[in-house]
């Protein structure tokens, strides 16, 4: 317990320094936003504890969200303000997840059909932004339904994988899900859902034959999608030979790597990086911006925070007795961490770049809401302390 309070103390000192810097040096008029966020997280922490849940993830998530706010503010104050309101909405999603007992609601058709409906609505009424038709607009409010749809899908999948009531139905839903994503040309989330599903399915019952089948599906899916989606070929080429396409498709990945390298060990310092040259610095490439300005120490710290969240999640799941609940929770853990691997792996050129958000860091309210909802549901599964 005392170590936790120490974490809070250190974090508070760090946070006060940042706010002080923003307030004094930058003459910041939005200083109340990080202060509000900080008190909000303090409140979330104590309410979660009061409700008898495990709350140790909150300080780490708070660090991520506040770092995100600082960097978004540094890029464009409007983005920070937008992210601030997004975070407040996400708090509602968190408490909904914490107390809504969603994962206990055993209705396969509700979860699968709501997930698919969201996707089909996007397909029918969606707006195309950057290659993929992934946005749904209601008035002036825009959001990315896939972020929520994949959470809904995994509430369905987790229980189905354990209880095996209608395996054929489950595969049919999955195939429908991938088909709609393919029609939207949104291949990043499709890959994320595929990898998370494979991991979860192998967790439930491992066999080499199954693994072989999944690898086979991955390869055939990869090559057949190359035939259907020319923009995917561009991404693969940009990944394999960015130096050949300096000014075109290789530009973003190279600028990201230049930014990381310019950061070096300790970084150029907040505000000192040359980040205006990185396309999509606030969403896809916020991690590279942090890498340039906070250096290797900063990026390693963030990775350690993510790894700590993985530790927290798995430790919490060990205390969950119900198989279905545990599998659903593990599905969330996979969705969360595989997304991080895909985004950072793309920035580091380990994988082709897929254009998704980095959980709790990138700009994007839908993503934040979905992540907080998952966090709330995961927390609610933990054994209650009396």
């Amino acid at each position: 317990m005392s170590s936790l309070y120490r974490t809070w103390l250190e974090f508070t000192v760090w946070f006060v320094c940042i706010v002080f810097w923003l307030f004094i040096v930058q003459g910041l008029s939005e200083w109340w936003q990080p202060v509000t966020l900080w008190f909000t997280f303090l409140l979330i922490y104590f309410i979660t504890k009061k409700l008898g849940h495990e709350a140790h993830a909150i300080p780490f998530v708070a660090i991520l969200v506040l770092v995100s706010w600082v960097f978004l503010y540094r890029l464009n104050p409007n983005w920070a303000t937008s992210q601030f309101w997004g975070t407040l909405v996400s708090v509602i999603a968190y408490f909904a997840g914490l107390s809504g007992r969603f994962t206990c609601f055993d209705s396969p058709w509700f979860w699968s059909s709501s997930s698919l409906t969201l996707l089909v609505l996007t397909l029918l009424f969606g707006v195309r932004i950057g290659g993929a038709k992934a946005w749904l607009a209601v008035g002036t409010f825009r959001f990315q339904p896939i972020e929520l749809a994949r959470v809904l899908l995994f509430i369905f999948l987790g229980r189905e994988l354990v209880e095996k009531r209608q395996p054929k139905g489950m595969y049919a839903i999955l195939i429908a899900f991938f088909l709609v994503l393919a029609l939207q040309k949104d291949l990043g989330p499709a890959l994320l859902v595929f990898l998370s599903f494979c991991s979860l399915s192998l967790y439930v019952s491992f066999s080499w034959a199954k693994l072989g089948i999944y690898v086979g599906i991955a390869f055939s899916g990869f090559f057949s999608s190359l035939l259907f989606f020319p923009h995917m070929l561009n991404r693969i080429e940009a990944w394999l030979r960015p130096w050949k396409f300096l000014d075109s498709k290789g530009y973003q990945i190279l600028q990201g790597l230049f930014a990381l390298r310019a950061g070096g060990l300790i970084g150029s310092g907040l505000g000192a990086g040359m980040v205006q040259v990185i396309p999509e610095a606030h969403t896809d490439y916020l991690f590279a911006v942090i890498g340039e300005e906070f250096g290797l120490l900063g990026t390693w710290a963030l990775i350690l925070i993510y790894a700590t969240l993985a530790f927290w999640g798995i430790k919490l799941l060990r205390g969950v007795d119900d198989d279905a609940q545990r599998t659903i929770g593990l599905g969330f853990v996979f969705l969360f961490h595989i997304q991080i691997f895909m985004v950072i792996g793309g920035i580091l050129r380990f994988l082709p770049f897929t254009g998704m958000t980095l959980p709790f860091l990138s700009f994007g309210s839908t993503s934040l809401v979905a992540q907080f909802w998952m966090l709330g549901m995961l927390t609610s599964m933990g054994r209650k302390s009396s």
Partner: protein
């Protein structure tokens, strides 16, 4: 159940481990900072950077502000091979490149170059194609390094296309990268080798008829000159190919070991990049040995290496590591000082004393003869390296004053003619003017002190 969850956790940790290693590589190791597509690279060209000074605090390169941007300004064009240039479009060369990380942090670089000696060397070399290197023998500090022709770092925008079209390659640093056969200028090393191996002594004489037959081939003196009965000092002073070919045949493969011990065939451990030259692995025949003994055959050296040979003989056989950057200052009173470093004793002192005596004779009465040379006690050796086509390369290497050397020098004039008629006047002139300069400075210093 629990062990399966643990496996999941280990899998996730493995993923993060790979990412940590990837970050380590891309953030601290990958060679991206100077990539041509990196906009940070271009921004850097407009920033202020440290100043480069000569040994007396004269500015060699500095940043000048023009319209909120900084531009590099150079004191003399002839230093473009040493100091280099720093230009957004044309890149970074020389010390600007090697010490880039220090300079962008605003640190000051103090070189061992003496701006006035550099100017003297450049003026004396004039419009000839070639190189001059001037050393301080006792500590290995380079006082001047000229390679002609050169580009002007201040006029790159204006003259770039001319430089590119110039058939004389003004970008080539001939002092460090020019490969020439040394010709007779290598004979002091052969002399030293023969002395050390004990195959010559002062009283020994040869009868030099001007031509030496080796099997069915011949080695002859310059112009087939018949030198008659000569001793070893006279053989060096008058540059007898007949005598030195015989010494080389006798030394056989050990001669090549002596060449290598003088760092020939190896890159010099030096802050500026340089060529290694070439020394054959073994001697293939007596004729081959004879050619190598008179600096022909496959032997190739750089002017920097020849200057180091002159400097080593002047420094009693102790070879010094060449230094051109002495101090880096900046930051929190940070000073990095390059100290003189001995690379080893290449020849015993008696050998260098004997070589020095012979080289003095060369200035008094031999191929490097000149009134000024005799008056100023210059010890020197000339070389006329045959090139197969065009005029010969003219060499001059030496040091002065011969009994307590303060300056060692190597001069090469590419396709200039003979060492005696082309390189000797230039080398002698440079030494004379340097000695005049330092005498003037010392007088000034004394009177300054008195006042």
């Amino acid at each position: 159940m629990t062990s399966k969850l643990r496996k999941c956790f280990v899998g996730i940790l493995l993923g993060y481990g790979i990412i940590l290693v990837g970050l380590l590589y891309w953030q601290t190791y990958a060679d991206l900072n100077k990539h041509s597509a990196n906009p940070r690279y271009y921004q850097m060209f407009q920033a202020e950077r440290g100043t480069i000074f000569d040994r007396h605090g004269e500015t060699l390169a500095k940043s000048v502000e023009i319209d909120d941007k900084y531009v590099r300004e150079y004191a003399v064009a002839s230093l473009s091979h040493v100091v280099g240039y720093f230009h957004q479009r044309y890149g970074i060369t020389g010390l600007e490149n090697v010490l880039h990380d220090e300079l962008i942090r605003g640190r000051q670089i103090y070189t061992t170059i003496d701006l006035q000696i550099q100017k003297i060397a450049q003026e004396c070399l004039g419009s000839n194609i070639g190189a001059v290197v001037v050393f301080e023998p006792s500590n290995g500090e380079i006082l001047a390094l000229v390679s002609s022709p050169f580009v002007d770092g201040n006029l790159l925008d204006k003259n770039w296309s001319n430089y590119l079209e110039d058939m004389r390659s003004p970008f080539l640093n001939r002092a460090t990268h020019g490969l020439y056969p040394p010709g007779s200028a290598i004979k002091p090393v052969v002399y030293g080798a023969a002395f050390r191996e004990g195959i010559i002594d002062e009283n020994q004489t040869w009868n030099d008829s001007g031509v030496l037959a080796i099997g069915d081939r011949t080695i002859s003196n310059f112009g087939n000159r018949n030198l008659g009965k000569i001793n070893i000092d006279e053989a060096l002073a008058y540059s007898s190919n007949v005598v030195f070919a015989q010494l080389a045949i006798e030394l056989d493969n050990s001669l090549l070991d002596y060449y290598r011990s003088f760092n020939l065939g190896n890159k010099v451990d030096f802050i500026l990049n340089n060529q290694s030259g070439y020394v054959p692995e073994i001697v293939h025949s007596q004729y081959d040995a004879a050619l190598l003994g008179i600096g022909q055959g496959d032997l190739l050296v750089t002017p920097l290496q020849m200057a180091m040979i002159a400097s080593t003989i002047a420094n009693h056989g102790i070879m010094m590591k060449p230094i051109i950057v002495k101090e880096i200052r900046g930051g929190l009173q940070m000073r990095k000082i390059a100290r003189s470093e001995e690379l080893g004793t290449v020849l015993p002192e008696e050998a260098t004393r004997a070589i020095r005596r012979a080289m003095e004779l060369a200035t008094l009465d031999g191929t490097a003869r000149s009134d000024a040379g005799a008056k100023l006690h210059i010890a020197a050796k000339t070389g006329t390296a045959q090139t197969g086509k065009g005029k010969d390369h003219a060499w001059f290497m030496g040091f002065a004053p011969s009994r307590s050397p303060r300056f060692a020098i190597a001069v090469v004039v590419e396709h200039g003619g003979t060492g005696a008629t082309v390189a000797t006047p230039i080398g002698t002139d440079i030494i004379a003017k340097i000695l005049e300069l330092v005498t003037e400075r010392e007088r000034y210093k004394v009177s300054d002190h008195d006042w």
